[in-house]
């Protein structure tokens, strides 16, 4: 079965729904879900952040977004990282 990927914008004090601070994806597989965040290493790394939110953690808000929106956030993070170097 094909993987189903759902993307989420990560929002906090320093970001907003229109300019999220990060992006997380939930990859649905036959066996279960794997969550990955686009990390400061500029790679998709495993992350427990969304699980925490489902358990009541209030640090970040997560809003479901489209793949295109997720790609835009990734591109922005990459550009900002390149600029900072």
């Amino acid at each position: 079965m094909a993987e189903k990927i759902t993307y989420y914008a990560l929002i906090d004090d320093f970001s907003s729904r229109t300019e999220p601070g990060g992006v997380l994806r939930r990859v649905g597989r036959d066996a279960g879900n794997v969550d990955e965040v686009f990390s400061r290493n500029l790679t998709w790394d495993p992350s427990p952040l969304l699980r925490g939110a489902e358990r009541g953690d209030t640090m970040f808000d997560f809003a479901e977004i489209t793949e295109d929106e997720a790609n835009e956030i990734v591109a922005r993070i990459r550009a900002e990282a390149a600029q900072a170097e």
């Binding site: 906090d12 427990p48 952040l49 699980r51």
Partner: protein
């Protein structure tokens, strides 16, 4: 609040709905009273004859002042919850109508009342007010009975839930977890993806000590004052009020990883639950209690940053809120629970720790079978937790744009 029954012969005693009216008191046929019988029928179909004023004369004897004194304790809606639930179910239903949740709604007027020297007793009380008071009382009884049933259901389910968790642990023995540690160069790590460099580790260590100190000297005393304002609920979880140092660093590393563009102190300062406490309320008093205590926290000078009503969630039940001390910017978390939702949280805590640990592992090392089982366990436990009445009045903050 205790409502005393009148002494036999007390002229100020509230009359039965059919008792003779004092001069000037309104008396209209039931059919002319808008909504009277309809409202009663809506509350309890088929029992409206008990609620409407024109019930048969035989009921008078049930409501007159010289009924046995033992009925006093049965008719008090505001006494402590555990007593209500013990007493109310034993009462024959007909006695519900005898109880007076708000005396003011049934005060009588007339010379006798004046003689009693109570100026407020001269105020006329409309039939609509009497009926409204009666309906409020019925609502109180209904909520109390439901809460007792919910508590009993949870108590009955708990052993099975506990056994289910033991069964899970047998099927999935705990795997070796990455042990958090500080290396000789001063950096910190816990597994492959959780790392802090020496400078970050030093900042996190100092922040943890500062948080513990602030919790002890400022936050806890304020919470104690709030707790003392109402004996009907209490603080819980104080033994874990400050998150462990390594757990704080794990959370910092996870959040910092997913938050490019911020430095470690910015992320550290956003962690809401390094200091955490819980207030628990009986189901009957939950919604009003939470709303009142949010006001008390504000009155203590704390700033509400975020509030999430999670009673609709499937893996966790309760209300979690994030607060800040304006003086220092320090955040802390307040959770609002019923005893049952807190018990469910504690019962699933180990499951959540396993989920969190598993989710932080490299993808090829994650055990997705166990993770699915753990989530199902959390859902199963929380499905047994009854939602208290009125939780829809506890609004998220900031409120979502779509409400």
């Amino acid at each position: 609040m205790r409502i005393d029954q009148p002494e036999p012969g007390d002229p100020s005693a509230p009359p039965a709905p059919d008792a003779p009216r004092a001069p000037g008191a309104e008396r209209r046929p039931a059919a002319e009273r808008p909504g009277a019988t309809e409202a009663a029928a809506e509350r309890r179909p088929g029992r409206d004859t008990e609620a409407v004023p024109d019930r048969p004369a035989r009921r008078e004897s049930e409501a007159v002042p010289d009924r046995p004194a033992r009925r006093e304790s049965e008719a008090v809606p505001d006494r402590p919850a555990q007593h209500e639930t013990e007493a109310v179910p034993e009462r024959p239903p007909r006695h519900e109508t005898e109880a007076v949740p708000e005396r003011s709604a049934r005060r009588e007027t007339g010379p006798a009342a004046e003689a009693a020297g109570r100026p407020e007793a001269r105020e006329p009380v409309s039939r609509a007010d009497q009926i409204a008071a009666h309906l409020r009382y019925r609502e109180t009884v209904s909520v109390t009975l439901q809460a007792a049933a919910d508590r009993a259901a949870w108590a009955q389910a708990r052993p099975e839930l506990r056994a289910a968790w033991e069964d899970h642990k047998e099927r999935y023995p705990e795997r070796t977890r990455a042990v958090p540690h500080t290396t000789p160069d001063g950096s910190w790590s816990a597994g492959e993806h959780r790392r802090l460099d020496p400078e970050q580790n030093t900042e996190a260590t100092k922040a943890h000590a500062d948080l513990a100190d602030e919790a002890d000297r400022h936050i806890l005393p304020a919470l104690r004052r709030i707790e003392a304002a109402d004996p009907d609920r209490q603080l819980a979880g104080l033994e874990h009020m400050v998150k462990g140092e390594d757990r704080l660093k794990e959370k910092l590393a996870d959040a910092w990883s997913g938050r490019p563009g911020l430095n470690v102190m910015q992320v550290l300062n956003m962690i809401p639950d390094a200091v955490r406490s819980t207030l628990t309320y009986s189901s009957e008093r939950y919604a009003d209690g939470v709303i009142t205590d949010i006001g008390r926290l504000k009155a203590e000078g704390f700033e509400l940053l975020k509030l999430k009503n999670l009673w609709h969630a499937d893996q966790y039940k309760g209300v979690n809120s994030q607060w800040r001390r304006p003086d220092t910017g320090t955040r802390f978390e307040m959770q609002f629970h019923t005893p049952e939702s807190l018990d469910a949280k504690e019962l699933t805590h180990e499951a959540y720790e396993r989920i969190r640990s598993n989710a932080a592992l490299p993808v090829d090392k994650q055990d997705l079978d166990e993770e699915r089982d753990l989530e199902n366990f959390q859902r199963h436990v929380n499905a047994q937790v009854a939602t208290p009445p009125g939780t829809d009045r506890i609004k998220d903050f900031p409120e979502k744009p779509n409400g």
